[in-house]
């Protein structure tokens, strides 16, 4: 009775390729990708807002697709390629979306901005938004 109830599961070796760099982490299974990025790799550009998939602040690209990292278990993404806001700039040049956010002063406090930019990068890759209404609809996962 009670022999295994309180035993912690083993940590699970998990390889994540983040912004082109391979990392192997030993993770408890309930570690979200968001917490792995922020707490294990000090990549704090990805933000924790609601932590329930409602605000979009935690949006990253996994294998090129935008997802909520707060609702993603890191161990499930073993070997995945992840792009965060830190990985969008190339060779010292800002991603065009980053530059556009600066040019158009598209910030309020800025906390949601990394998620908005990653989400917009995903939207562009999807190629489904052809007018302003479609952009609005397809960006509705970001507050």
């Amino acid at each position: 009775m009670g022999d295994v109830t309180h035993e912690l599961p083993d940590r699970i070796p998990t390889r994540l390729v983040i912004n082109g760099v391979s990392h192997t982490l030993d993770l408890l299974p309930w570690t979200t990708l968001l917490d792995a990025l922020r707490d294990h790799l000090a990549l704090t550009g990805t933000k924790k807002g609601c932590d329930h998939g409602q605000c979009g602040a935690c949006t990253v690209l996994i294998d090129g697709r935008r997802v909520n990292s707060c609702l993603t278990l890191a161990v499930m993404k073993d070997s995945a390629e992840i792009t965060t806001i830190e990985g969008l700039a190339k060779d010292g040049a800002l991603h065009p979306l980053q530059q556009a956010f600066i040019d158009h002063d598209a910030f309020q406090c800025g906390y949601c901005t990394p998620g908005q930019i990653c989400s917009a990068a995903g939207l562009l890759a999807e190629g489904r938004a052809r007018d302003a209404d479609q952009i609005r609809e397809l960006m509705s996962g970001n507050l």
Partner: protein, 338 residues
């Protein structure tokens, strides 16, 4: 989240094998609803069985001209698949009416069928809820029940099923393919979800140890006269107060076939064969659609805050059937209702 063990299933048989000995184990694919519920302590699985790598991501044509959709096809891939866009635009439209682009990229078809109600009392572990804890009572019946069910309710539960996709699947007559310890079986989508009666802790008729492997669409796709109309408190990324999936077969202005399913009003997508039969042979007019809506809403009953849904549903049915008649389906991006 509670501590849990994690296993990665290597194939379907392995997933079934892993499920069998542990009643506290749960399958995880996209995780969008399950992880959220675990963060709220509503779900506390002893083990998560990761099925996300199983080979259930294909969309293939069936010999009879329908489509078989693997249970792990992401919602966005399904909505944007050429065969779905061309042949089953009602399904594509309903999927795109739900959640956000990020969540649709994550969420699987099987997971969408398994998602649980968004009743706030179900989520709030400080309040009684028969669905979360059978026998504890229903806080919604005498509580804030504006979003709750008006059809098929019981004295135990007035929760609604939140899926948009399932409403279109119900209208299209989809089938659900299931694998389990005793082999495979197939049931109609309309028999997959259940009414709450005195067992609201059971959302579906999926047996313990079973796994959804595919959803099948029959050949008849209603690609011309269809519409999915979702009425909600804000323009995007909100659950339905009422939604309607409508599909018609027309000969001139005469209806030779009709399908209507309601979302946001019951514990399962709501269809009435009687209402659909009443439309056959009739002219496609608002009066006839109103009569069908009355039949569809027969037995609807309100609680203290959701009485508006009955009239809203009636009007939404008529409007959606007119959109289908005119081949002007509701756009999910341009929000003006035609």
């Amino acid at each position: 989240m509670n501590n849990f063990r994690y296993s990665r299933a290597s194939d379907i048989a392995d997933a079934i094998r892993l499920l069998a000995p542990d009643p506290g184990a749960k399958l995880i694919a996209g995780g969008t609803n399950l992880i959220d519920l675990m963060k709220e302590n509503v779900e506390r699985p002893s083990r998560l069985i990761d099925i996300s790598r199983l080979p259930l991501r294909e969309i293939v044509e069936t010999p009879d001209g329908g489509l078989r959709i693997g249970a792990l096809v992401p919602n966005s891939d399904l909505a944007y698949h050429p065969l779905i866009e061309q042949r089953y635009p009602l399904l594509a439209s309903a999927i795109l009416a739900g959640a956000s682009a990020q969540l649709r990229n994550m969420a699987s078809v099987g997971g969408n069928l398994m998602q649980r109600t968004r009743c706030p009392y179900f989520y709030d572990t400080a309040t009684p809820c028969n669905k979360r804890s059978l026998g504890s009572g229903c806080s919604a019946i005498d509580g804030l029940n504006r979003n709750h069910a008006i059809l098929g309710t019981s004295n135990s539960c007035i929760a609604t099923n939140p899926s948009d996709m399932s409403v279109a699947l119900a209208a299209l007559g989809a089938l659900v393919h299931i694998a389990g310890p005793n082999g495979e079986r197939t049931i109609a989508l309309t028999d997959f979800h259940r009414l709450p009666d005195d067992k609201p802790h059971l959302d579906t008729n999926l047996g313990s140890g079973e796994i959804i492997i595919a959803v099948e669409l029959p050949p008849h796709s209603f690609a011309r006269n269809y519409s999915y109309l979702k009425i909600r408190d804000r323009m995007s990324y909100a659950f339905a107060l009422v939604s309607v999936a409508a599909a018609l077969e027309l000969e001139g202005n005469a209806i030779s076939g009709a399908r209507v399913a309601l979302g946001g009003v019951a514990h399962k997508p709501w269809r009435s064969l009687e209402a659909e039969a009443a439309l056959r042979g009739q002219a496609a007019t608002p009066d006839h659609f109103g009569h069908a809506a009355d039949l569809l809403l027969q037995g609807a009953s309100a609680r203290s805050h959701n009485g508006f849904k009955i009239e809203l549903a009636r009007r939404a049915v008529v409007r959606t059937l007119m959109q289908a008649t005119n081949a002007t389906p509701q756009s999910q991006a341009h929000k003006k209702i035609a």
